[in-house]
Symmetry: C2
Subunit: 236 residues, 2 copies
DNA sequence: GTCTATACAACGATAGAC
DNA sequence: GTCTATCGTTGTATAGAC
């Protein structure tokens, strides 16, 4: 069974690695030419964005806020992005793509429906624990986007949900699962996973760890959809 | 079994009724003295707030937007609230209190855990369907509040969750339910219910009705927590 | 590459005519 | 009771010094 410690050491991305990718992918619009410097400042910028927008939202964050918290001047900030909206877009897309890739990699290591589902749930939760600012940011800011960007965010959401739906589908066909409605089961499962990073304060207060939350969700869901299929429940 | 049609006719509040209460409760800070006029304009204001903030969020809504959409001038708006923040607060609190009262009333009509739980789930979903703008508004804007208001919003959230936790607790004690962890079960159940009004576009696309979503959640949850307690599953 | 200083639009809120 | 006109502030973004 995948535990959080192992995941964190072997699979987890760190902010530096992600910022390196961001700098390389946006080489055109970033005026600073030295990679090392650009990465270092991009990290300061993202850390500041997450800190501020966790408190009052990205929209309420002013570039004066960002300048003060990141330690870079207003002018310097614009060497790393051309507008506040571009900054938001860069962060959002990077988070979505990263998450999808890692979850799919982990799922591919299992074949049977139940272990696959358990792996998808655990990986998604562990990842959201490490990249919580990214997940939270992507979710909360998606609501107030202009039409075109909003469509993209909706597609991202459905792509994530599809990972879970495909596993449930596989289980239905093999006779391991009985969901009632595969689509709705995938939807509600995703809602449970999102609650972990959206309502973090609640679980912190309860003293719930990401591992115990993961185990609860795995069992809660499997108990429901394996009704009458006892044989598959031994090694999730 | 409580169906949506019945609920809508017998229990559902309408915007006019809620606005009457709002006007009466804020008589002090509303400069307009004629009740009928004040209620009429308050309705126009709230309808406009919901329409605009559904698209781009309350924070991004300017009072010029609100003036244009509601048909009232900037000056006239300030006869109904003393600041943008006060307007947000009025809407938020009214929605939370209304929702809590109606769900508790409905739950009180049943005694056994399973029917109580089913009633709470259905009522909460039906209510969020009718008052979707209020629910959505309260949820999305709570994240970007100043510390003091945020605490209040968190307390509201926990109060709602408590309704479900109490029912699950009752079921655990009577031997009807076996949740694994009552606290987490209440949390994740709430997450499923919130998904209905937060991701409305998704369910609209799937063609899911509020009744079919309610039935899915009721069965999904009961299947999981009634594991091994078959006798209680006949009349949820 | 980063800074300070500033442009200019748009914000919430108010005063005073009607 | 509602309007128009306007206040001072704050927003994003840029220009030019260093």
């Amino acid at each position: 069974m995948l535990d959080f410690q192992t995941f964190q050491k072997q699979r987890a991305p760190d902010l530096e690695g992600i910022c390196e990718e961001i700098v390389l992918e946006n080489r055109g619009s970033i005026a600073v030419k030295k990679d090392r410097l650009a990465v270092k400042n991009m990290m300061r910028i993202l850390e500041a964005v997450f800190a501020i927008s966790r408190d009052k939202g990205f929209h309420a964050m002013t570039l004066r806020d960002l300048s003060r918290t990141s330690g870079l001047s207003m002018g310097a900030l614009y060497s790393y992005f051309s507008s506040k909206e571009e900054l938001r877009s860069i962060i959002h897309r990077k988070g979505v793509l990263f998450a999808k890739k890692i979850v799919l990699d982990e799922v591919a290591e299992h074949e049977e429906p139940a272990p696959r589902l358990a792996a998808a749930i655990r990986t998604h939760l562990y990842l959201s624990e490490i990249l919580r600012p990214w997940f939270y940011f992507a979710y909360m800011e998606a609501a107030s986007l202009p039409a075109r960007e909003k469509r993209q965010a909706m597609d991202d959401e459905r792509a994530t949900e599809r990972i879970f739906r495909d596993i449930l589908d596989q289980g239905e066909r093999s006779g391991d699962f009985r969901c009632g409605d595969v689509d709705l089961a995938a939807s509600t499962l995703k809602a449970m996973l999102q609650d972990w990073y959206l309502k973090r304060w609640k679980y912190k207060r309860k003293g719930t760890t990401v591992e115990s939350y993961a185990e609860f969700v795995v069992r809660f869901v499997l108990r429901s959809i394996q009704q009458g299929n006892e044989e598959g429940r031994s090694k999730p």
